[in-house]
Symmetry: C2
Subunit: 185 residues, 2 copies
């Protein structure tokens, strides 16, 4: 998983995987069928072990603004963990791919779209609860938040520290409309 995270799907060779896992090629193919299946296994593992902060943030019983704040701060942490590759596997895994790996690139794109959709869903919930103004465009803002997280992923890959990412998250949050008074019945 770390190799795919660091080098992306195509640039990670079986020789690297073999050395890292201490397995012979037939063992790898017995266990994972082929490289593509192995990558998908790594994706689900990444989703389960590294991305929990996102679900936690979006499902926490807190005001919308606080949920988004937790989401961005969580990303700042997750994208800069010591001993782990910088950024997000969903971004680094295959941003640009050869025609043969188009299926992998599309799958990662689907993960990113799903993240954006989850944010939009949380924002819509916030709007329903009057946490957000009525004229507020849920889809547009979700695209902004998801985009900022993708940008943080690249900044992390370029060496940004956890502190720098936290500040970037805080700055991004300033674009959110200020907490609104609950509109009473």
């Amino acid at each position: 998983m770390h190799l795919f995270w660091e080098h992306g799907y195509e640039a990670t060779s079986l020789a690297m995987l073999r050395e890292a896992m201490g397995l012979t090629p037939p063992q790898i193919y017995n266990a994972f069928t082929d490289k593509e299946t192995l990558f998908r296994k790594a994706l689900t593992r990444y989703h389960e072990t590294e991305i929990g902060f996102a679900l936690d943030a979006l499902s926490a019983p807190v005001p919308t603004r606080e949920a988004i704040r937790r989401l961005l701060q969580g990303a700042a942490e997750a994208y800069s963990r010591p001993g782990k590759p910088g950024g997000c596997l969903f971004v680094s895994g295959a941003l640009a791919a050869s025609p043969q790996a188009q299926a992998i690139a599309d799958e990662l794109k689907a993960y990113r779209k799903a993240s954006e959709a989850a944010i939009a869903e949380r924002l819509a919930k916030g709007q329903a609860a009057s946490d957000l103004p009525e004229g507020f465009s849920v889809e547009s803002f979700a695209k902004y938040i998801a985009g900022v997280m993708n940008g943080m992923s690249i900044q992390a890959r370029d060496g940004a520290s956890a502190d720098e990412l936290r500040i970037m998250a805080q700055t991004a949050l300033a674009a959110l409309p200020p907490e609104e008074q609950k509109r009473g019945a």
Copy 2:
């Protein structure tokens, strides 16, 4: 250039380049020495022909906030031009690379760092001209703006329209402190 832009450095094979340029391999090597040199040629061409908006925005004699607005809106346009690959070559070219292509990845990273530095320089100028508050951290905000642009690049690659990118740019701009009154002498 379009091939590298679309598929990235490593995933673009000489066979694809050969077909696209209508040249035989020896012609390519006579003209460009090797693949790496060809890619660097494409990089400088991209910088000259597609990225002019950035220099224009940062050097225009306008208030700082307006300069940043032009920068982000220009990115929205440049990253979603019909007939061109989505996003920015500096991001898509080699975000994740094999160990052999580390030099290329480092060069692209240097381009991204240079963009961020240019933004920081413009912000510092704005601070000196009292366009921005004194406590304002130029470096942090430059990292945010550069990060947002990188994020827009990924959103564009994921199919975001020019309008959607423009809205994202507008949203990001809201994080900038409001225009300050000039502190008179």
